[in-house]
């Protein structure tokens, strides 16, 4: 991190995310890590991460039940501070998800989360493994035009309502948003915390946005 100011990364813990793995990655990058379960935990936080593992509806319900939504809205929408959604934490930003029935999302980045199609031979679901992410716009330290392999593990994809929000795409059965970006909100469908060097570079890029 060199002489960069010390970052304190908050990870929203609403009992539906791989908090430990994300904490490990930011710890490795030299950050303080705060596990956020209530508003008061946000005091020292400079960068906030919303993880998510499991079914969309299950995660959305857990997040609402956590009581953290008002704090998250203040953080991301009112104060416009850096937020990173990962995997289902990205999908929750959409208007709605279609996994196991229709579920409302946060609607912070317009789009729907739909099951990836498996029409082509050789396309299996879940989409598990390393796949190429093509950056269409600069985001998280990657330049427009760059391509890099990241680790995915999901069945549903984020299909954006506004193409301007899509920073990077990936293709598996269909082309879906791999990275979305709108002002202070950044989110990835892949797992940067599990994507070795490329993933750590992505997380460093997130830390560089203020």
């Amino acid at each position: 991190m060199g002489t960069a100011p010390r970052r304190t990364v908050g990870i929203v813990d609403y009992r539906a995310g791989n908090v430990r793995s994300i904490a490990n990655a930011f710890d490795h990058l030299g950050c303080e890590v705060e596990i956020v379960t209530r508003e008061a935990d946000l005091t020292a936080v400079t960068h906030l991460v919303l993880p998510g593992v499991g079914a969309f509806g299950h995660c959305a319900e857990k997040l609402r039940a956590s009581g953290l939504l008002p704090s998250l809205m203040r953080w991301a929408l009112q104060d416009r501070r850096p937020l990173l959604g990962i995997c289902v934490g990205m999908q929750l930003l959409a208007d709605a998800g279609e996994e196991l029935g229709e579920h409302a999302g946060l609607g912070w980045i317009h789009g729907r989360v739909r099951r990836l199609p498996v029409a082509e031979p050789g396309v299996r679901l879940p989409h598990v493994g390393w796949n190429m992410v093509r950056f269409a716009a600069a985001a998280a330290g990657f330049e427009a035009g760059e391509s890099e392999d990241f680790y995915f593990d999901h069945t549903y994809g984020f299909f954006c309502g506004d193409p301007a929000d899509v920073a990077a795409e990936c293709t598996h059965g269909a082309t879906f948003a791999a990275v979305v970006r709108r002002e202070n909100i950044l989110a990835a469908q892949f797992h940067p915390e599990k994507s070795q060097e490329a993933g750590l570079r992505f997380l460093r890029g997130f830390l560089a946005c203020v």
Binding site: S21, R124, H154, E193
Partner: protein
């Protein structure tokens, strides 16, 4: 296109050293002839440096997954020192076991005997943690009675046919199928391609083929002839001069889409 995966499989056994119980890395042959190799976390770090795509940790003692289980300590350390996907299993009985493994650093959980005793475990785990988290591990043998699935670390035969059980497990919500031919384990004779292909062609989830890799060519066969999405190996990566990086170059030169280090 999603890349094919090379997965080192780390088999673990409990060892008591004085008053401390810890887990050591071992290899097996035919699920017997256990050879102690070293420290699993050191080996995991080596595999990450060698650009492995994922790691599988299997506790072959199948001792219970409890908060003090040495397996959890291995996972915690591996997850804090490597930044790659980790699947873990061995002794998984309940969705609480899933939760403990996930909370301690696993990204996916392998379930074997307990899913056969109660197939609803697959459905319940997929509903809570997502199908992408549930790897159903199937150990089987071909013998005079035909092809049969074995449980309890390969010791107990079941009447199940491995192909039929894989199809059913996928239908119940398994996100991946890990197939291992017990007789080929540690043999270096090559993968059981007909069974791997039969399963891969009947399920729509990824199949991880395992048991028998002794040459880089065997991985290529698993992908091209077996239609596997991933090939896992224990003994091969532990003892050969080959490592995941060299194997990867061989697989890539055979025309298989695979990640390359840039």
């Amino acid at each position: 296109m999603v890349k094919k995966r090379l997965i080192p499989k780390l088999l673990l056994k409990r060892r008591r050293l004085g008053t401390v119980e810890r887990m050591v890395l071992v290899t097996t042959r035919g699920y017997e002839q256990v050879i102690e190799v070293g420290d699993p976390v050191s080996q995991a770090k080596i595999y990450e440096a060698q650009f492995a795509d994922e790691l599988i940790f299997l506790n072959i003692d199948s001792s219970p997954i409890e908060p003090q289980a040495p397996l959890l300590d291995v996972l915690r350390r591996a997850a804090s020192e490597t930044f790659m996907p980790i699947a873990a299993g061995g002794g998984v009985r309940t969705t609480d076991d899933f939760e403990l493994l996930l909370a301690n650093g696993a990204d996916k959980v392998c379930v074997n005997s307990a899913a056969i005793a109660d197939p609803s475990l697959i459905e319940r785990a997929a509903a809570i943690f997502g199908a992408q988290c549930v790897v159903v591990s199937i150990d089987y043998r071909h013998d005079a009675q035909g092809s049969r699935v074995f449980v309890d670390g390969g010791r107990t035969a079941t009447p199940l046919d491995p192909i039929e059980w894989a199809v059913r497990a996928a239908a119940l919500g398994a996100g991946e199928i890990l197939l291992t031919d017990i007789a080929r384990d540690g043999s270096g004779e090559g993968l059981d391609l007909p069974t791997i292909r039969a399963v891969a062609d009947r399920v729509s989830v990824p199949v991880i083929a395992s048991g028998g890799c002794g040459l880089a060519r065997h991985f290529v066969e698993g992908f091209l002839d077996g239609h596997a999405e991933a090939v896992a190996a224990g003994t091969f990566f532990c003892f050969r001069d080959q490592n995941p990086m060299q194997t990867r170059a061989h697989v890539r030169n055979a025309g298989v889409p695979i990640r390359v280090k840039t």
